[in-house]
């Protein structure tokens, strides 16, 4: 299975739902329409010519400079039979951070979507139990978003020989 074959297969099926494609370190990357994430991934999982039945990982990314496409959900799929990998990226605006959950397709996405909700505030619609998973429940912000100032490098209030840095 080559990148070209997979790309033409998916493009012929989904057409303009594949917004862009590129290749990094030999891995095919598809930018997909965020509304179409479930149908595209279902096809890639179940279609006999793709059969990427394993969700390696799923993660959120914050691009503060991309207006209207600030948040991104990245999926990595794996065909275990022939060891072929594919990466999908779906962008969503930070003002309405909603995307369909793929936990119905891949059970492992359940945990990972909760984590991305916890850290980026991405709301996965259709997730069975979207709660914070790693941070405390009372937290009222999303710590991995790039909207917090970096620490002042000259800060001295924690300089302590035994207890601080």
């Amino acid at each position: 299975m080559t990148n070209e074959a997979v790309l033409s297969e998916i493009q012929s099926k989904f057409g303009d739902k594949i917004i862009a494609h590129s290749e990094e370190y030999g891995m095919l990357i598809l930018e997909i329409l965020s509304d179409a994430n479930v149908e595209i991934m279902q096809y890639i999982k179940e279609n006999a010519s793709c059969k990427m039945t394993f969700l390696t990982t799923l993660c959120g990314i914050h691009y503060p400079e991309k207006s209207g496409k600030e948040l991104c959900v990245m999926y990595q799929l794996h065909n275990m039979e022939i060891n072929y990998r594919l990466r999908l990226k779906a962008y969503i605006p930070i003002s309405n951070p909603k995307i369909k959950s793929v936990s119905g397709l891949f059970a492992s996405a359940n945990w990972q979507e909760r984590q991305e909700f916890d850290f980026y505030g991405i709301e996965f619609e259709g997730h069975p139990d979207l709660r914070r998973i790693l941070n405390m429940d009372e937290m009222d912000y999303f710590p991995m978003r790039k909207e917090y100032k970096l620490e002042d490098g000259t800060r001295e209030d924690k300089e302590d020989k035994f207890f601080g840095r």
Partner: protein, 182 residues
């Protein structure tokens, strides 16, 4: 006086004579408590590894009467917090402390438990004294077993020298009130 008596009466006020000693009840109880501390190890990271060494035969905390670890807070006298405590862990630590019966002492082992250490970040409690009162802080990242033993010995000194019913002291009640512990 035999060797054993010598050790036992070393730091105690009282009248000694041939084969007997008269002292205050509080001193005797303090001595007994200090040498039979049941620690509850609350180990979350590398300081816990140092504690394992402290309990092992090389350093042997049993020399101080603390060989019996209590994994239930209800029977424990000394809460030893060793390692990074995240904010999410904070309420659990507080619950463990609340479940301990008086008299109870707390020792914060290592930089993380004492001040958050290098983890100056959104998810880490900046010292366990934000949620529970602490009696002795042991610095180090991680501290050597000798330092942990020194901390336990400091706790022993506290136990020997403070009122046997410290929970009745107004200062202590005020302290617990400040932490909203009943």
């Amino acid at each position: 006086m035999n060797q054993l008596d010598k050790i036992k009466t070393e730091n105690i006020d009282g009248y000694k004579g041939e084969g007997f000693m008269v002292t205050k009840f509080s001193e005797a109880i303090g001595l007994a408590r200090a040498n039979s501390i049941w620690p509850l190890p609350f180990a979350t990271s590398c300081c816990g590894i140092e504690f394992m060494s402290t309990m092992g035969p090389n350093y042997d905390l049993a020399r101080f009467g603390s060989e019996r670890l209590s994994f239930s807070p209800r029977q424990a006298d000394l809460l030893m917090v060793m390692g990074t405590i995240s904010k999410k862990m904070g309420p659990i630590l507080k619950k463990v402390y609340e479940q301990m019966a008086e008299p109870r002492w707390v020792i914060a082992v290592g930089a993380c438990a004492s001040s958050g250490g290098i983890f100056d970040t959104y998810s880490v409690l900046q010292g366990i004294d934000r949620v529970i009162p602490v009696d002795v802080y042991v610095p180090g990242c991680p501290p050597r077993p000798e330092q942990i033993i020194e901390g336990v010995m400091q706790i022993q000194e506290l136990i020997k020298n403070e009122s046997i019913r410290r929970r009745d002291m107004p200062e202590y009640q005020k302290l617990l009130e400040a932490y909203e512990i009943e």
